[in-house]
Amino acid sequence: MEAARDFLEQEEDTQKGKYLTFSIGSEFFGLEIACVTEIIGIQPITEVPELPEYVKGIINLRGKIIPVMDVRLRFRKPFREYNDRTCVIVVDIKDTSVGLIVDSVSEVLSIRDEDIVQPNELKAAQNRYIKGIGKVGGDVKLLLDCDKLLHDDEVEALEKIG
């Protein structure tokens, strides 16, 4: 019985434990593969006024209009000119499609749950988009919480008031 359930769970989620890794500057980040729809090169972006700086505007993804977010700016890192290594990772979270602009995409990795450690609680303010830290060989990948990345504006708004 136990074995059967395990098998079913495995069947259900073959994408579990797989992460798409990308780099911003010298740091490597990981995104759960299940929420990634596709990866495209940088596209012409139409700016929309009055948006936070990190939302660069909207792009046309084969007739579908999706917003794009510069992850660099989201993490308060300096803006870097886009080049041919720049990629847009299209993620789909709770029926919202958003493109994430990253410096470059590297590979898909399997990270086992026991290799993931919780981020340091003390630095919670800085780590609020980080769900965990994955250890792969000698490297460390910061695993992102997509949902927070997109919908964490209340926190930001509160900070502004404070």
């Binding site: 700016e47 006024p49 948006l51 936070p52 909207i58 084969r62 209009i65 919202t96």
Partner: protein, 679 residues
């Protein structure tokens, strides 16, 4: 049993029945007062017949039974043409029947059982029929079945017989299962998959309901040839619904040759299966198809991709500076065709408001009966086309408004006459395109809104925030849209619970529209729904500001011109204005509003576009006009909207080259412009 109802069939049934009911409703409403003409009676009879048949086939027995009763009544009307017919009563009954069927279909749609109790309605119809018969001195022919000919129809063989076996089956249905003939047809229809040749008796099971009784008594005789095994055939028959008894036996010699040889030979030449002919004919003039909206969405997206791909090919940089006459010719043709295709695809989503408007007629009629008022509903501009999604959202609010108008607005006939008005109230429902919006105006000539009463009620409920003497008439009227507001003391069946109006505003706001009310006491009320262009298709003017492109709805553009420096006025606060023919308009620099770099900042380098919204105008300063284009308005992604409420933007659209252009919301910009001026 569920195996027999395949999904597409059920979907088709629901669609067809809904349409038929709407059609029927129209016929009944249009002729209620004047009485039904021969044509209408025929039409209603036909519709009921179809509904009966299809419902029986889908095993919705209550619907089918009701349709049967109504069909009988109209059959009588058709055949014996009685003089004295109580048309209003008949209309009431038919409408009640329509409501019942609609309700049941709704249930079926939501996956529930169609379990409504039909007996009362049915006996009502039967009672009416009996009355008719008594009055009219009906000829006897109505109930007698047409003589049943003992003729067999033949469904052509598909392959030459080799190891075929001939069978004869006699099928008895359960007593009281009704529609034996239709059930028999289902048997034959299903048998076609198994059998090569089929003959059955009685033959005219589709168009003659008299055969139902006959089948009930004597059973349904099918003779057929098949290559399938004995068990398979038996199993098929045993699956028949409401089967009571089955005699299945092999026949030794070919019955098709011995009994019907000549006919068989003659029929075999005709490729069509004769048994199906009647049905096909009935469906022949169908020129409408129903398509799922998601497919249309997909089609539109694909269309956009096609246009972009076309531009990528024809304007490919590899082809630059090459002399390619033939290529250019072919490319032009391709461009023409894709353009046409784009127009068609865009127009497919648009649906006229007519069906929604016509529904209102029914609402008005029912309410007049109940409230004993006389109201005429006039529809104007029901051909105005609106995106499908919007139509669905405005139907309920409209219903509320109409109900309010009839219930609160229009006075009873006596009161009207005392005021010197016509006894019948007049309600006008008008739709028209106005700039970037569709306006739906509901006008009544009733008693109008009572400012004092509204104000008193608003005060009571603590809704008044401002100094009362400062409130304009419009502000007072708009109190009625607030939740929990109702001046009607008495709660009626139709309105007065104070929920209607705020539901209206909420629903309209959910599509981004707005509601305005104006009234004159004693003379009537006008309510205007302004539905925004989101999702609609608009003619747009594309303008350039720096590298960015924006689209202005053509209908809101009044003119465009090159400004002269001496016409520009700047007030001490730095607000810019321009004099045009003696009038002064605020100027809105798009490049400043949208923070566009590298745009012309000198007025003489760019162009002014004067735009209108309601009564206010404003000049928009841009770099240049690019051209006119029909565009599909797409909403900005929800994520963007959730981040910030972007003022002055109505949405975005894709241009032919695949780039995105933001659509400017003229109303919003005008407000911004004037607010700027006020600061």
């Amino acid at each position: 049993m569920a195996d027999h109802i395949s999904e597409p069939m059920l979907e088709m049934y629901i669609f067809e029945t809904t349409q038929l009911m709407e059609q029927l409703e129209q016929v009944v409403l249009a002729n209620e007062k004047s009485g039904f003409s021969q044509e209408d009676v025929n039409e209603i009879f036909r519709i009921m017949h179809t509904v009966k048949g299809s419902s029986a086939m889908m095993l919705f027995d209550n619907i089918s039974a009701l349709a049967h009763a109504l069909e009988d009544a109209f059959f009588f009307l058709r055949e014996s043409k009685p003089d004295k017919v109580d048309y209003p009563k008949l209309a009431d009954l038919v409408l009640a029947g329509i409501d019942f069927i609609k309700n049941e279909v709704e249930k079926i749609k939501s996956g529930a059982e169609a379990d409504g109790d039909v007996d009362e309605l049915k006996s009502g119809v039967q009672q009416l029929l009996a009355d008719l018969k008594n009055h009219g001195g009906a000829p006897e022919t109505i109930t007698t079945t047409r003589p049943v000919e003992d003729q067999k129809y033949y469904i052509g063989p598909q392959k030459e017989a080799q190891s075929k076996e001939y069978y004869q089956a006699r099928v008895f249905f359960q007593d009281g299962c009704q529609m034996e003939n239709i059930r028999a047809y289902t048997v034959v229809h299903g048998l076609k998959a198994l059998a090569d040749e089929i003959a059955y008796s009685p033959h005219n099971i589709i168009d003659d309901d008299g055969t139902a009784d006959l089948i009930g008594k004597e059973g349904f005789l099918v003779t057929f040839s098949t290559r399938k095994s004995d068990e398979e055939v038996r199993e098929y028959f045993n699956r028949t619904i409401f089967l009571k008894e089955l005699d299945l036996a092999k026949v030794q010699d070919n019955p098709f040759k011995s009994e019907n040889g000549e006919q068989a030979a003659a029929q075999a030449k005709a490729p069509a299966a004769v048994g199906c002919e009647d049905r096909e004919q009935a469906n022949a003039p169908q020129s409408m198809v129903s398509v799922h909206v998601t497919k249309l969405d997909r089609l539109m997206d694909l269309m956009g991709e096609l246009v972009i791909a076309e531009a990528m090919v024809t304007q490919n940089t590899d082809l630059k500076d090459l002399e390619l006459d033939n290529f250019q010719k072919a490319a032009r043709l391709l461009g023409k065709i894709t353009g046409e295709l784009q127009d068609i695809v865009m127009s497919v989503r648009m649906v006229p408001l007519a069906t929604t408007f016509l529904k209102m007629q029914r609402v008005v009629r029912d309410m007049c009966k109940k409230l004993d008022k006389q109201v005429e509903l006039e529809l104007i501009g029901e051909e105005t086309e609106v995106d499908k999604n919007i139509i669905e959202r405005i139907s309920d609010p409209l219903m509320h408004l109409i109900r309010n108008a009839v219930d609160h607005g229009i006075e009873p006939a006596g009161e009207r006459e005392a005021k010197g008005k016509r006894p019948a109230g007049q309600i006008t429902l008008e739709a028209r395109n106005a700039g970037s919006d569709v306006l739906i105006v509901l006008r009544d000539d009733g008693r109008g809104l009572d400012k004092e009463k509204i104000l008193a009620r608003a005060r009571e409920n603590g809704l008044v925030q401002k100094n009362e003497s400062e409130l304009s008439a419009k502000e007072i009227y708009s109190f009625i849209f607030l939740p929990g507001f109702s001046t009607k003391e008495r709660v009626t069946e139709f309105s007065g619970r104070g929920v209607g109006m705020d539901v209206v505003t909420k629903n309209i706001a959910s599509v981004g529209g707005s509601v305005y009310v104006d009234s004159e006491q004693g003379a009537g009320t006008t309510i205007t729904l302004k539905i925004p262009l989101t999702l609609a298709i608009v003619d747009g003017m594309t303008i350039r500001v720096g590298n960015a492109r924006y689209t202005l709805p053509i209908t809101s553009i009044r003119e465009s011109f090159k400004p002269r420096r001496e016409d520009i006025i700047t007030d001490p606060d730095g607000n810019e204005m321009i004099m045009v023919r003696g009038n002064c308009y605020p100027v809105l620099r798009l490049h400043r509003l949208f923070n566009v770099k590298e745009a012309a900042s000198e007025f003489t380098d760019g162009i002014m576009v004067m735009v209108d919204s309601d009564s206010d105008s404003l000049c928009v300063f841009a770099d240049e006009l690019i051209g006119e284009q029909q565009v599909v308005v797409k909403a900005l992604p929800n994520y963007i909207k959730s981040l910030r409420r972007v003022e002055g933007l109505a949405g975005c659209t894709l241009l032919g080259d695949g780039s995105i252009s933001l659509i400017l919301d003229v109303g919003g910009m005008v407000n911004m412009g004037y607010r700027q001026g006020a600061h």
